[in-house]
């Protein structure tokens, strides 16, 4: 083929708008870090604090990384928070009935996969919009958690010590000054799930096909991709991620409450959206999601250190998400966000022509 000498649309001229649109979110992240560093010079930019941040974000991370897979296909999963709560109750009830840690974990993962498959069947096979399907599933999962637990928390001696110590423990890294430093187990799980999702999305055949479905569903079908199967799979992965997060939360708190995972869903979707702003084509991508999770985690950590009210924390988080997405759609292609909007408003996701 001839290597043409002109490259349309990729002129060398520097454009500030284009630069901000592409890297605005990342610059924003650096500015946030810089801000807290100057505000809390003693404590913020220290290794122990960053280790702490990774532990704080690990649970959100697992949910957001697996959510990225669903969002790559153009769907989303609103039920992850409720699933995380439900899994805590399932594991706790297993302990109450004398089950071992292995049994509790296995059952939890099974519930996560089954819940994800339920969502996937509704969306891919029955063909209702992801918004309605997973909203319904959210309510079902929440109801189940409340029903099984009778609305009460599960805590105390029924929980095996090795289970609750896992969430607080870690692998010793050595000493820095006065403090023992350890890589938290939860951080390790988050890193493992990050690597797995990264490999799936960027190096696997399945990943290419998932992106194709999100890019143009009809062309994907004409291109021989088995769409229903892959959409189902993406929801199963998201359900599994929510189950793992639910176990992590239960282990860390040593308490299972039937609504304790609820905050995860909005934060996870927000993290993926933040990450999409970092991609040239506004596609969900797991490295972007990682930055999104970091932004949310650093904000929570820094604002807490500055003893700012948690309500104000919520407001600032919301403002930052809106800012980032606005920035990235500045004079840029808004097609993907528009498509999202259409889906959110309940239009059937698959063009039935």
């Amino acid at each position: 083929m001839t290597e043409s000498d002109k490259s349309p649309g990729m002129g060398p001229r520097f454009s500030l708008t284009a630069f901000l649109r592409r890297y605005g979110t990342f610059i924003g992240f650096l500015l946030i870090v810089l801000f807290f560093w100057t505000q809390r010079p003693q404590t913020f930019m220290t290794v122990p604090n960053w280790v702490n941040i990774t532990r704080q974000m690990s649970i959100l991370g697992v949910v957001a990384f697996t959510m990225t897979i669903v969002m790559v296909t153009g769907d989303f999963d609103l039920s992850v928070g409720a699933m995380a709560s439900l899994v805590g109750i399932v594991a706790g009830t297993t302990f109450q009935n004398g089950g071992s840690v292995a049994e509790a974990v296995a059952l939890s993962l099974l519930v996560g996969a089954a819940g994800g498959a339920f969502n996937g069947l509704l969306v891919a096979t029955v063909g209702i919009s992801a918004f309605v399907a997973t909203l319904g599933a959210l309510t079902v999962f929440r109801g189940l958690a409340l029903y099984i637990s009778g609305g009460a928390s599960i805590y105390g001696r029924v929980i095996p010590a090795e289970f609750s110590s896992f969430g607080r423990g870690g692998i010793a890294l050595g000493r820095i000054g006065e403090t023992d430093l350890a890589l938290p187990n939860l951080t390790i799980i988050a890193i493992i799930s990050l690597i797995l999702v990264f490999i799936i999305l960027n190096y696997s055949i399945v990943g290419r096909r998932l992106y194709a479905i999100g890019g143009n569903m009809e062309a994907a079908r004409f291109g021989g991709i088995r769409i229903n199967r892959l959409r189902l799979l993406s929801f199963v992965i998201s359900g599994l991620g929510a189950a793992v997060a639910g176990l992590m939360l239960f282990s860390r708190l040593a308490t299972a409450h039937p609504t304790q995972g609820e905050g995860l869903m909005l934060q996870a979707i927000a993290a993926v959206f933040l990450g999409m702003t970092l991609s040239e084509e506004s596609q969900p991508n797991v490295i972007g999601t990682l930055i999104g999770v970091l932004i949310l985690g650093v904000l929570a950590n820094g604002l807490t250190q500055m003893q700012i009210d948690t309500y104000i924390q919520q407001i600032s988080t919301g403002v930052i998400i809106i800012l980032a997405v606005t920035l990235s759609s500045l004079s840029g292609r808004q097609t993907r966000y528009r498509r999202w909007l259409r889906r959110l408003l309940g239009k059937a996701p698959e063009a039935s022509s």
Binding site: T2, K6, M10, I205, G223, I225, R226
Partner: protein, 507 residues
């Protein structure tokens, strides 16, 4: 005072896309009280001309005079103010609203106390407009969801007259193939309305592919070809033969003798027997290895839908498909690719390409299993190397394999779909309008490629609206009418007029 009839002069209309001229120095006159037909093959420049008049595209040059006064159309609002009204073949009716609300869709609804909808006045005014156009059979209060295609078209037309006073003749109505999805009764109703509009003194520009319609309703006709106006005639003095010759006058390079001579011994590749789907009433054909078979027919004759059935997109309701003697059941696009059937769809942007993705990703998508490592991971290096090879064999012009497909011209985008189609050396290649919206250079690249593929033994089944293309390229041509495969004939010696007659023949 009697106003002189409206007269719109269009001159020097030119427009090029990315350096490829779509419209060159086109001009025509629209006169009040006259229906002016506009005909030409796909890509002749008709729709570009309409887009310029609608203010939807910025012209490279355009001069407009309305009753002698110069006119500027910076945007579509300006076109609307001047009196242009556009009726497209796709019906943009909002089914959830009433007929009356649909009529007022581009106008403010009548109000009560400034905020509430004055339903009574709305229905009264909607009814009045429908009456004025002689469309008494549609109740303005009914919901638009149940309207037939024909009635929806009439509602669309009536909507153009909202806010136009009776007796105001400054309206220029431009209709783009309004009968494409109408049945014959609906067409009659539409023609009644068009006749009424003409007699009221409005100017109409009527774009169509159906010549018989011109003789029914138009007084003058302009023929376009390759972005230029070829001629303007009074319809009454002009024969169909003349119009067809002017529309299709271009000569396609003849298939070189050595390729057609190099015929393999006939071996049956594809046998389709009494195939039936929702959109195909009955299709049967036999295709040999190395043969190029064309499918001709009017829009709506079931041409594309036959390909849908063969590629597993539309489910079969009956009949058999045999590929090299193997009966194909449970066909799906995924299975079709695996069986060695390749497909280049008609709508390359919506059905074929992933515009945000890279060239090599677009080429290899259906074939990722071939580049698998441990059946799980993609070997990007091998995928890119193969894409580069294929890019060369289809004469793809790109800056690199990582280039986003969005940035490519229509011709290069089409070549990407060809590269995808031939990656796995398919036995059967289904092509739907393979050269639509493609510039002339790319067109000849694609013709050459199709002949090469056939020469290598692939069987090709191609749908095309360009009859010259079918005749020049194909060994045999199947004509479809009303969802049926009606005729099969050798392409050699066939004239476009003969072929067109076969397409039009009513059985």
């Amino acid at each position: 005072m009697i106003a002189p009839p409206l007269r719109l002069q269009v001159r020097r209309a030119s427009k090029a896309y990315a350096g490829v001229p779509a419209l060159t120095d086109a001009g025509l006159d629209l006169v009040g009280g006259e229906v002016h037909g506009l005909i030409g093959e796909n890509g002749a420049g008709k729709s570009t001309l309409i887009k310029l008049l609608a203010g939807l595209e910025v012209p490279d040059s355009l001069s407009l005079r309305l009753n002698g006064a110069a006119l500027e159309l910076p945007d579509s609002a300006a076109a609307y103010r001047v009196g242009f009204r556009f009726i497209h073949q796709e019906l943009s009716i909002v089914p959830a609203l009433s007929v009356a609300e649909n009529l007022f869709i581009s106008n403010p609804l009548p109000r009560l106390a400034g905020v509430f909808v004055d339903w009574k006045d709305l229905h009264r005014r909607a009814g009045a407009v429908l009456q004025r156009l002689g469309i008494g059979h549609i109740n303005p209060r009914r919901r638009a969801s149940g309207l037939s295609a024909g009635d929806a078209m009439l509602v669309k037309i009536a909507g153009a007259f909202i806010g136009v006073d009776e007796g105001d003749e400054r309206l220029i109505m431009i209709m783009d193939e309004p009968t494409a999805s109408l049945n014959s009764d609906e067409v009659e109703l539409l023609f009644d309305v068009i006749d009424r509009l003409r007699s009221r003194g409005y100017a109409l520009l009527y774009v169509t592919h159906r010549l018989d319609e011109l003789y029914r309703i138009a007084q003058r006709v302009t023929v376009m070809r390759d972005g230029r106006v070829i001629s303007t005639h009074a319809v009454a003095d002009t024969s169909t033969a003349t119009l067809i010759r002017e529309m299709t006058g271009r000569s396609v390079d003849e298939p070189s003798a050595d390729l057609s001579a190099a015929q393999q011994p006939e071996r049956l590749r594809l046998r389709v027997c009494n195939l039936r789907t929702d959109a195909v009433a009955q299709a049967s054909l036999e295709l040999n290895a190395g043969e190029i078979m064309g499918i001709a027919g009017l829009v709506g004759s079931g041409r594309s839908e036959l390909l849908y059935a063969l590629f597993g997109i539309d489910p079969l309701l009956g009949g058999d498909i045999e590929l090299d003697g193997q009966s194909l059941t449970e066909l799906s696009p995924a299975r079709a690719w695996n069986l060695g059937i390749a497909y280049v769809p008609e709508e390359r942007r919506s059905q074929g390409l992933f515009l945000s993705d890279q060239v090599s990703q677009n080429i290899t998508l259906p074939h990722l299993d071939r580049f698998g490592v441990l059946k799980t991971f993609v070997n990007e290096g091998r995928a890119r190397a193969r894409s580069r090879n294929l890019g060369e064999s289809v004469a793809l012009k790109i800056t690199g394999l990582r280039q986003r497909v969005r940035q490519l011209s229509g011709g290069n985008q089409q070549k990407i779909l060809f590269a995808r189609a031939i990656l796995a050396q398919p036995r059967l290649i289904l092509l739907d309008e393979p050269t639509r919206g493609v510039d002339v250079g790319a067109k000849f690249d694609i013709y050459r490629l199709i002949r090469e593929l056939a020469g290598q033994g692939a069987s090709i089944l191609m749908v095309s609206s360009e009859l010259d293309e079918l005749i020049a390229l194909c060994d045999r041509i199947v004509v479809m009418r009303n969802g049926r495969t009606a005729d099969v004939m050798p392409a050699a010696g066939l004239s476009e007029n003969q072929l067109l007659e076969r397409c039009y023949e009513f059985s």
